[in-house]
Subunit: 317 residues, 3 copies
Amino acid sequence: MRNPQLNKHGELTHLISTEGLSRDILQHILDTAQTFVPLAERDVKKVPLLRGKSVFNLFFENSTRTRTTFEIAATRLSADVFNLNINVSSAAKGETLLDTIANLSAMQADIFVVRHESSGAPYLIARHVSPDVHVINAGDGRHAHPTQALLDMYTIRHFKKSFSNLTVAIVGDVLHSRVARSNIHALTTLGVAEVRVIAPLTLLPSGLAEMGVKTYTDMAQGLKDVDVIIMLRLQNERMRGALLPSSHEYFKHFGLTQEKLAYAKPDALVMHPGPMNRGVEIESAVADGPQSVILNQVTFGIAVRMAVMSIVAGASS
Amino acid sequence: MRNPQLNKHGELTHLISTEGLSRDILQHILDTAQTFVPLAERDVKKVPLLRGKSVFNLFFENSTRTRTTFEIAATRLSADVFNLNINVSSAAKGETLLDTIANLSAMQADIFVVRHESSGAPYLIARHVSPDVHVINAGDGRHAHPTQALLDMYTIRHFKKSFSNLTVAIVGDVLHSRVARSNIHALTTLGVAEVRVIAPLTLLPSGLAEMGVKTYTDMAQGLKDVDVIIMLRLQNERMRGALLPSSHEYFKHFGLTQEKLAYAKPDALVMHPGPMNRGVEIESAVADGPQSVILNQVTFGIAVRMAVMSIVAGASS
Amino acid sequence: MRNPQLNKHGELTHLISTEGLSRDILQHILDTAQTFVPLAERDVKKVPLLRGKSVFNLFFENSTRTRTTFEIAATRLSADVFNLNINVSSAAKGETLLDTIANLSAMQADIFVVRHESSGAPYLIARHVSPDVHVINAGDGRHAHPTQALLDMYTIRHFKKSFSNLTVAIVGDVLHSRVARSNIHALTTLGVAEVRVIAPLTLLPSGLAEMGVKTYTDMAQGLKDVDVIIMLRLQNERMRGALLPSSHEYFKHFGLTQEKLAYAKPDALVMHPGPMNRGVEIESAVADGPQSVILNQVTFGIAVRMAVMSIVAGASS
C-alpha cells in the first residue's frame, strides 16, 4: 500500500507522521528549511510562495504556541491564515469531524493544520480531502507530532552536521509522548548510530526493542557518552495518577541537572520541545546553560514549518 | 419610507434582510457573485477590490463557521479583517451596543458584519453608523439571515438556470428559522412559481398564507413534484421543550430519507444550510447523494459574501 | 541609571510608562501621530512602514477593545499581527512569563504589545528581550497605560493647540487608575499650568501633592474654570467593596452632569477612556454633548499607536 502521505509520484502531499517517510524526504524538508532560516535576518521576513493560498489552523485541542508557530510560518509564506478553534464551534453543534472538513474544503482550503486529541484524526481527514488539499499534523493524541520531530532533526543537523555517528537519548514520559514516537522514527530513518530512551519503568512503552531503541531506567547509564539529549515535557496530570510518585521524586531521578548532564559528552546538546517545567524535568542551570539549544529549536521550528507547507502545497495527489 | 438598506440613489448600502429588496438588487448580487466564483480555481484566489478597507466581524453570538466565511470573503477581497468576539468583552463591561459601535466606527471601520441573538440589532446599528460605514447582517435572532438566503438563491439559479417555473419546499423548524424567513422573501421576489413550507403544526408560524406560501404537515404531500428542497437545521434545544416529542419521532415524520425524496421530481435539489444533524433532519444517503448540493452552497457562499461586501462598499448613503 | 525605555542614543525603544519620558520624546510621538491622522480619509488606509515585521499582541488580561486598537494600528502599518490570549495557553501549562517571552522572541518577534494584570510585567519583559525587540505597554495593573495617556495628550493638543495655559481635571477612581497615573506624568511633562484630581476621599491616593497635583473631593470646586475634564471609568467591582456606597450615590456626587459641567470653562473638553458607564460616572447628555471629544480620542488612538510602533521599531538598544 502506498504511504498515505505521498502522492502517486512519491511526493509529500500530507505530513501526518515521520513514520514511513524516506530519508530522502526527511532530508528534502531539512534542506528546504535551511533556505528559510536566513529570512529571519532580513528586514521583510516574508516570501510570496503561498500568496493567495488559504491555510486553516484547525485546533481541536488548545495549543496557542503551536498554533502561533504555524500561523507565523504561513504568514511568512504570504498565505492567508484562518484560525478555527473547533471545540467551541461545530463540534459543540454535533457536526461530525468529516462534515466540518468537507465544509471547510468547500471554502477552497489549501492546507489544513490539524491538532486533535484523538490519534489518527489527521490521517482520517487526509483520507477524505480532495487531492489539492493538504493536511499537516500538528499533534494527534499519543500518535505523532511530526513537525516537532523535524525541527528537532534540523537542530541536531545544524549543530552536529551529520547524523551517522550520533547517540541520542530521549528522556521522560515516553509512554505518552507523541514527540518521542515521531523523533524515534525520524532519528532511525536518518541513520543515527544509537537511539536510547530513559524513563521510569511505568513510563516505558513496550515495543521499543523492535524499533531498535535501547531502554534505560537510570540516567547515569542512559546518558553515558550521548551526543544529544532530548528532554520530554512531563504532563502534570500524570503526577496525580499512579504512574509517578511526585514531581520532587521525578526530578531527583530523571530531572536533567548539571550533575547528570556530566555523564554525556562535553559537547552534548540539550533539547526540550517546551513548554518547560523548570525544576521538574530540567533544572534552570541546564535549560539556560551553554549546551542548551532549546530556543534554537523554536527559531528553526518556523523555518521547518515553512518548508513543510511549501513542499506539500507544491505537490498534488 | 425609504428602505433602510438603500442609499438615496437606491443602491444597496447595508444588507439587513432580503425583505424589501427588489428583484433587480437580488439579481445584481447574484450576478456579481458569479464573477467571483472562478477565482477559486485560480492560483492566487484574491482580488484587490477592498484593499486597505477594514472589515469588523462583530459576533455577539458565537458562530465560528459563519464568521470564517465572512473572514475568507473579506480576505479574498484584500480587506483587513478584525474579529471581535463581543460577548466576552465590552458587553461584559456594561457598555451599550451603540457605544461599542460608535467606538469601532471611530476606528475607521468600513464594514461591520454583525451576528446578534436579538432580532433587529443589525438594523439598529445600521441606523446609527455614519454614511460611509456599511452593515451586513450575519444572522439576527429569528429575524433574518440574508447572506444564507442569497447563497441559496445562487445555488438554485446555478443548477436550475431560472426561478420562474420552480416549486420550492422549505422543511423543518420554520417557526424559529431566520433562514426560512429570508429564503421565503427572496424566493417570492425572484418569482418562483410556488413556495411551500413543511413542518409539524407546532413549528408552523402564522402569517405564511399572507406571504403566498402553502403549508403542509405531511412530507408526502408537501414534497410532491417539487424542484428544490431546503432542509432546515433542527436546533437540539427545541427537542427538550414541548414543541417536539423526540428526534427519533421527528426523523420518522420529517427527516429527509431517500424514500421521501422520491416524492419530489427526480432532479430535485437537496439543500441544507449546515451544520447538519445526520439522522435527525436528513439521512446520510440523501446528504451525500447525487441530488445533494450542500457543499456547493458552501462554495457559492464565499462568492456571494464577496459580492455583498464589494457592492455595499461601493455605495454610500 | 538610563531610562529603561531608551536606547543608548536616547531614543525610545520601549514604551512602558509616560513617567520619565522627556517633553521632546512625548512631542515627537504626538508629531508622528499627526502624520498618520490623514490616512483615515484615504481610500487605502495603510502605509508600508512595518511590512514584514511581526507584532505580537500578548494579552494576559482580556481586553478586546484595546487589543483591537493595536491590531488595527499594526495592520495599517502593514505589519503581521499575531494575537495571543495567554491566560488560556502557556500560563495554564505552568510556563514562566520569561520563558513564554523567550520562546516568542525566538520566533523573531519585532514588537510585543503587552497587557498584564501585574504592575511591572512589561518592564520585566523589556529587560529580558534582545535589543531588536520592542515592548509596548498596553496597560499593567495599576501602574501605567501610556498609549491611553498619549492619545489623551494628542486630543488635548488637537483641540487646545498648546498645553501651557491649561488646567486639567482628572475625575474618579484615581486610586486604582493606571490611566490617571500615566496622564498625570504626561500632563506635567508637557507643561500644563495645573493638574487637578477630583475623587472621593477613599479613592484618592497619597503622594499626589509631591507630583504637583491639587486634590479635590468636591466637583464644584475642582471643576471650576478647568479647560479639560478627563473622566475615569468606575470599575463596577469597586462598588461591592467598602470604598463606595452605591453607583447612585457616586453619580450624585461625582457623575459628570450638564449642571456640574457648567463649573468648567464654556469650551472645556470632556474626555473618557471608555468603555463608559452611562449614568454612573457620566450622564448621556454630556457624553454625547457638544463638548465631548470621546470618539475623537478613539480615532486619534489609532494614529498614536501607529506612531509609537513605528518609532520604537526604528530604534534599537
